[in-house]
Every structure is written in C-alpha cells, then in structure tokens.
C-alpha cells in the first residue's frame, strides 16, 4: 500500500512527490506521442513528395536529370535553434532563482526566456512567409502539409509557453510574488519549456539536417 509522504512544499501525497509536477510529466509524456505521430507523418509524406517528383522539395534533389534546389534555409533555422537553446539556459536560471529565493534573478531570467521565445517565433514567421512566397503552402504538396502542421504545432506550443511564462512573471510582481511555492511553480513551467526545446532538437535534425536523398 502506498505510503503518504511529504515533499518540498509541505503537501502530503501518496506518491512522495508533487501531484502538480507529476501531472506535468504525464502531460509531457502524452506530448511525446503527439509529436511522435506528427514526425512520423512528415517522414512518410516528405519522402513521398520526392519519389513522385512533386516540388517544392525540402532539400536539393535531382529528378530525371533535373536539379531542384531545396526550400529549407539551414543557416536561418540554425540561428533560431541556437536562440531556443539559449532560452532553455535562461529558463534554468529562472527556476534556480525561484528555488533559491532570488526574485531578481528569477524575474530577469523569465523575461529573457520570453524574449528569446518570441524571437524564435519571429524566425518561424519569417520562414513561413518566405515559403509562402516561394510557392510552398499547406495545400501545395504533402511535404508542405506535413511540414506546416508539424512546425506550426511546435510554434503554437512555444507561443503558449511564452504566455504561460508571462503570466508567471506578471504574478511575481504581486506583493507576495509567487508565494512560498514559487520554486515549484517555476519548475513546472520550466518542464514545459524544456520539452518544447527538446521537440525542436528532434524536428531540427529530422527536417533540416538529414538530407532527403
């Protein structure tokens, strides 16, 4: 029989750990399944586009002796990847500040994370607009459909994360700040943000770095 155990924060739970933190981990587990299926769909459809010879194509490819340039901009996306990676570092400092009663560190790091997240979204918006003008849309071919759905959902997750952090930042300016469980609140938000980053690590490798042929 599970024993009730206290953990940081003073709440007694039957698992010996915070229920809120456990909820976030379970949610992130479900997000693994969500993004896993979208990535699988991309892998199948992007390959199909090349085999059918229906462009635009993600990477440079030669079909019937005719060379087609790829539409993906690796240097641009590498920069946005670096930005998102740095946002994970600032997020870790935000959590550290909250857990070690350093409110200034927490607030500045949270703000930096939000800014970097918005910059990443700016890069994504620029990329989407460029692709649209180059003829790649949701309805152009299966590569376009799977690419925009996968990266669009990821971008939406980043935007939701930025709003989540903004609400925590706003709450931290109240008289009592985030309260005596500030560390846990920031840690849970940090879990979500880092997960968004690791999904991008996978997406960046599969879509941008691995060539089609």
């Amino acid at each position: 029989m599970a024993q009730a155990v206290a953990h940081g924060g003073g709440h007694v739970t039957s698992t010996g750990t915070s229920n809120r933190k456990l909820m976030m981990w379970i949610f992130l587990g479900s997000e693994c399944l969500f993004f896993g299926s979208l990535i699988a769909t991309y892998l199948i459809f992007a390959g199909d586009v090349i085999h059918r010879g229906v462009g635009p194509f993600p990477h440079p490819v030669t079909i019937n002796g005719e060379h087609h340039e790829g539409i993906l901009d690796i240097p641009l996306t590498s920069t946005s990847t670096f930005v998102l990676l740095m946002s994970s570092v600032t997020m870790v400092f935000a959590v550290y500040g909250a857990q070690h009663a350093r409110p200034k560190m927490m607030k500045l790091s949270t703000l930096a994370t939000i800014v970097l997240g918005v910059v990443f979204l700016g890069f994504q918006a620029f990329e989407f607009a460029t692709f649209y003008h180059e003829g790649l849309t949701l309805g152009t071919n299966l590569f376009g459909a799977s690419f925009f759905v996968l990266t669009g959902f990821h971008g939406t997750h980043v935007a939701v994360g930025a709003l989540y952090l903004a609400s925590l930042l706003a709450a931290s300016f109240r008289r009592n700040g985030l309260g005596h469980e500030a560390g846990e609140h920031m840690e849970i938000a940090g879990l979500y943000w880092h997960f968004v980053d690791i999904v991008w690590i996978v997406i960046f490798t599969i879509i941008y770095l691995i060539p089609s042929e």
Binding site: Q3, G9, L22, W25, L33, D48, R52, E184
Partner: protein, 115 residues
C-alpha cells in the same frame, strides 16, 4: 502511515549556475558539430547515424539536467521514458506500415529516369 511533513521549503536539486552555463555551451557545440556533419558530404547512412546519436545526446542532457529528471522520483522517469519509448515504437510502426506505399512511386520514377 504519514511521514512528518517538511517545513515547506522548496526542493533544491540540480547543478550550479556555472555548470548550467557549461552544459549550455556543450549543447551549442554539439549543434555546431551537427551542422558541420550535415554539410560534410559523408555517406547517408553514416550521416543519419551520427546526427541521430548527437541529437539523442542533446535530448538526454536537457531531460536529465535541465528538466532535473536525474534528480527526481523514479515515478516521473517511468512515466516520461515509458511514453517516449511508446512514441518511438509508434513512429517505427507508422513508418513500417506506410513505407511500402512509397515503393510504386519510387519504382515508376526510377523507370522514367533510367536509374
């Protein structure tokens, strides 16, 4: 049987700020290596293997240290890693189910292109 409740202070575990910075720099370096590998022109199978391994290292580092899974209750690890493995299994199952559908298009294309 309930254990005595804690004083209410936050659980503090993880790395020091300096270690987080070093880890961030290491992740950046791995990303640079991945870029170099993608432009290196090595054989496709080797390229994919190297990139997947490097990505897995980054993934594990962020999950273990930034997300503190290394210092957490094993229940969290079981939930997350179990779900992740299930997602990977579903990914390979989908690829296995639909890969065959690509073959007619590939064969037709090769017939037209002559190779």
């Amino acid at each position: 049987m309930a254990h005595a409740p804690s004083t209410g202070h936050q659980e503090q575990h993880g790395l020091t700020p300096r270690q987080y910075i070093m880890l961030g720099l290491a992740l950046t370096l791995i990303t640079i290596v991945e870029l170099w590998v993608s432009y290196s022109g090595m054989a496709r199978s080797v390229l994919i293997t190297v990139l997947v391994v490097l990505s897995a290292v980054k993934f594990a580092a962020v999950v273990a240290f930034f997300m503190h899974l290394r210092f957490e209750n094993s229940l969290m690890t079981k939930f997350f890693v179990g779900s992740f493995l299930l997602a990977v299994a579903i990914l390979f199952a989908l690829l296995g189910l639909f890969w065959g559908d690509l073959q007619p298009a590939r064969i037709a294309l090769e017939a037209v292109s002559g190779h």
